[in-house]
Symmetry: C2
Subunit: 413 residues, 2 copies
């Protein structure tokens, strides 16, 4: 049997007791004959505690210092897991991101992995040891410590799986897998047995929290089978993998939603080349992530340009956009909060007739007004008022009959 | 003005508020024109919290993992201090021991510094930045993280001061300096304005907690002037430096005591070459630090060999000594706890008449029985029952008139 990478999230290693339970699980995989590399997040709310400590010292903590500070959270949990494994008689060695050879660029707080030098990990695996790696962190060529930003530990795990040519990457979390919708909003939501990278990527980008889109994308590029499952039970989980067989299903696979949405509209932008670029360049320079962008066709020589950002970025984004809006001679800048995004995701749905109409009809049936509509190959997204979100997700789950098992689609794949 | 190294202990950086106060102090030194390198300990009881976390996971934590775990404590405090300095407008960069180039051997939990590569620190100092280094830690040639054991952060500070050719090394703590005796036992105890390396070394070795002997020794070898002072006020502190001028004073400079003492006696050791070596070799292999050793002249062809260890090491030491005692045909092994050690320290006292007699008379005057006596060039130590310790220290302080200012000795130095 080959090598597997297991990643355990913050709640999975949230206490000494949980860490011992994780050690048993790692040991079981090892006893089955696998070489095991484990990636761990910081315990429970360690990261929040460290952030609050920094805020007590200054309200504008330096990003380089913040990265080094936060990196200690994952180091703590990985050393504890190594100790727990050793106390079970299994040799294990923990590594910081730097020791594990995770090399990144120098963009603090959201670094990208540029290379992995796995020599030390491979050496320890050959000695029949379990290698435990602190997730979420890496090191620059100047030996500065960086963190990878949101979804960082998932990214560490999938990147290591790719570099080490792992059989599979297991993402252990506190839910049983990927669901057709958030079970807290839709009690009938059903766990999916498998899902394609593309569908998972859309679900993740549109707000499904179970995995970060970055890590899914990395898995897709390197064709690493990813299993999302719970560390609290032995249920099967959801396999994320190549989806040729599923493409034929032409079905809605899941519903994603996101409430961390604010909308900015630049009103009356003259219909000239370069106007949109001028608006978005300062946002890119400030590393503000812009989500949905919509611009309708121009009728009177001007157009309205709308886009969404996370609520935390709204004030800064408005501050950056107002001067450039004046520069391109737009009429003004408006913004709105209290919104939510709801999406249906499924391979092939854009090319199949009726999905969009059925979605809009289901929302209308609940008396929900649609603010903005955008689509991709495999997704349709509507922006609605946040108060309507639970009704919207429930209505769509029923309209596309997601509570029904997909026997046919799965056997055909 | 040149470079100074400042070291702040755990209580000095025990809270966000304290860290901001330390930042002001560092800034003041910087504004005076000094290049400043700061070494910090872990905040308050962070290290104890981490140790207890490890003990919740396993009662036999691996030393390599423990070192990596504990190293996070100092990293946290040094990033927070860097943030605090930056928020005051002073550029500052924090470094782990590894990043600061502190290279050690591979003896986990009590590593020795073998070299310091200060290139990165020097680069940052040239850019007018304050360099902040996590104390107590280093890195091996295999990139494993080590800790330096007790007194580790003091050792980091003095070693950096030596390597960087600093003007002085300031050790900031929660007391005003080095006292003639522990002020909690002797209210009349007086702060010393200066003391020689040798005297400080004896005081530290005999139990004075204000500085670890390792760091004092390193300062003596490299002739780094060390100032011990409080980070909670602006009082002058105690200068530890070369003491030629003081040698003439022939006076008792201070009284040290230690209560972490257990005694082992190997009874009836045959007076043969190699017997003592056989007894101590297994203790050395187990890294058990043996303190006082006394063996009296042999009268009947056998002798009793006594030595002291810390109480925490007693059980293990007895376990190791019993079989070798049998091997050298000793009659038996006895051990005792409930002891304390009290020492008078002063350059030249062994060669000056009357000091020993005055010490023994002072103890006898309090009805205190002396268990063991040992001496060095500049020290006389007595082992007494622990219950008599406060009376012993007080009586000696009075007998050698330590409450009196030493104007003469200081002006002559």
């Amino acid at each position: 049997m080959g090598l597997i990478v297991q990643k355990y999230g913050g709640t999975s290693v949230g206490s000494a007791e949980r860490i011992r339970a994780v050690a048993e699980r790692v040991l079981a995989a090892n006893r089955q004959g696998h070489k095991v590399v484990v990636v761990v997040s910081a315990m429970g709310d360690t990261t929040d505690t460290l952030i609050s400590l920094a805020r007590q010292v200054t309200n504008d903590p330096d990003e380089r210092e913040m990265d080094l500070l936060l990196s200690t959270g994952e180091i703590i949990s990985c050393t504890l897991l190594a100790m727990a494994l050793r106390s079970l008689g299994q040799e294990a060695v923990s590594f910081t991101g730097a020791q594990a050879g995770i090399r990144t660029d120098g963009i603090h707080s959201r670094a990208r992995i540029v290379a992995i030098d796995p020599a030390r990990i491979i050496r320890e695996l050959k000695r029949d040891r379990v290698a435990i790696v602190a997730g979420f962190q890496g090191v620059t060529d100047e030996h500065d410590i960086t963190t990878l930003g949101r979804g960082g530990s998932d990214t560490t795990a999938v990147a290591l799986a790719a570099r080490l040519d792992a059989e599979t990457c297991e993402i252990y979390t506190d839910v049983d897998g990927v669901f057709t919708a958030d079970p807290r909003l839709v009690p009938e939501a059903r766990k999916l047995d498998r899902i394609s990278y593309d569908e998972m990527l859309e679900l993740a980008q549109q707000g499904a929290k179970v995995m970060h889109p970055r890590a899914v994308e990395l898995g897709a590029v390197h064709e690493i089978p990813i299993v999302v499952r719970s560390s609290f039970n032995d249920r099967q989980g959801t396999l994320i993998c190549g989806g040729e067989g599923m493409e034929a299903s032409n079905k809605v696979r899941g519903i994603a939603h996101d409430v961390d949405i604010a909308k900015i509209t630049v009103i009356g932008v003259p219909d000239e080349p370069g106007a949109a670029a001028t608006v978005f360049e300062p946002l890119a320079e400030a590393h503000i992530s812009v989500d949905t962008i919509v611009q309708n066709a121009s009728l009177d020589g001007t157009t309205d340009l709308s886009f969404t950002v996370s609520e935390g970025d709204l004030a800064k984004a408005v501050r950056l956009v107002e001067p450039v809006a004046a520069r391109v001679r737009a009429r003004g800048v408006a913004n709105a909060t209290g919104l939510a995004k709801v999406s249906i995701v499924g391979t092939g749905i854009q090319h199949a007739p009726g999905y969009a109409a059925r979605m809009f009809r289901a929302l209308a049936g609940e008396g929900i007004n649609i603010d903005i509509i955008t689509t991709s190959e495999i997704r349709i997204t509507c922006l609605v008022a946040r108060e309507h979100l639970p009704a919207a997700v429930g209505a769509l789950h029923r309209a596309f009959e997601l509570e029904r098992a997909e026997k046919q689609a799965i056997t055909s794949s």
